[in-house]
């Protein structure tokens, strides 16, 4: 776990990150329903980001918070998510290249971040970045904290990742692009 327990806007970082994690998990469950994945069940919440799973991240920032929302899963999990998202059979997805799978994962993170923004109290002020795909977990400094919720949909497990710190921590700088006027 990336340690750190500084205060953001008078609220302890662990409190804020738990709120983000709950909202993001709720949003992913809703998105899974829209994609007609099997029903999502929460397995556990942990601090460590899975080291052996690729996934997509997107930054969400405002004046106080700098965060990344991520969705990680196995190669098979990514293909299942892609198949449901695109309305394709798994056999068809097998013919897609890694770039196309990564594109789908980035779009999942993008949609998820938009849902989080609308669901989170005060989310209106958050600015979305451009989603990025990573084969390995992202690492940040001591002022940043991470939390992970593992959810299962059918035979696949998805890790919903929140990496959060004060804006000055620079989390989410990669791919950031202001989206709201």
């Amino acid at each position: 776990m990336l340690q750190g327990a500084s205060s953001i806007g008078g609220r302890r970082l662990p409190t804020v990150i738990q709120e983000w994690l709950e909202v993001t998990t709720k949003a992913f469950t809703k998105l899974s329903e829209d994609f007609e994945l099997p029903e999502c069940t929460h397995i556990e919440s942990v601090g460590d980001i899975p080291r052996n799973q690729p996934g997509a991240y997107i930054s969400l920032t405002n004046e106080e918070h700098a965060g990344l929302v991520g969705v990680l899963t196995t190669d098979q999990g990514q293909k299942a998510l892609t198949a449901n998202m695109l309305g394709m059979e798994l056999e068809e997805v097998a013919e897609l290249d890694e770039g196309e799978i990564a594109d789908c994962m980035r779009e999942v993170a993008n949609i998820l971040a938009g849902m989080v923004k609308s669901l989170l109290t005060g989310g209106e002020d958050l600015k979305l970045g451009l989603p990025v795909y990573s084969l390995s977990p992202l690492q940040y400094g001591s002022s940043v904290r991470s939390e992970v919720a593992k959810v299962r949909a059918g035979e696949h497990t998805f890790a919903i990742v929140i990496i959060l710190g004060p804006t000055k921590s620079g989390v989410g700088a990669a791919g950031r692009k202001e989206s709201a006027a």
């Binding site: 779009e107 938009g114 692009k177 989206s179």
Partner: protein
Amino acid sequence: MKVLVVDDSKAMRMIVKRTLRQAGFGHFEVVEAENGQDALSKIEAEAPQLILSDWNMPEMSGIELLDKLAESGSKVKFGFVTSEGSDSMRQRATESGALFLIAKPFNADTFKEILSPHVS
């Protein structure tokens, strides 16, 4: 009707095209662009009657594209299909001349309801 779908995600362009078909607009001719800059070229070459654009894209965002079109005096119908649907973004879109903003995730019913008044 010719529709230009603008999104940096190929997957999302596929989903938009599929949703158009599911919403009963399968007869539309669809052309694609990867960002606002690419869209400007496609608009000149293809003369679409409707543009469905993402907001947040590299090179040139959807709102920058819309503002460019307004500056040029373009009257092409323009709507956003984007991951954010906040009140401030809807207001910004409307002020720049967008007809609608569809927030992701969406379905065929949403497309049918929102697009129908603009594609008759």
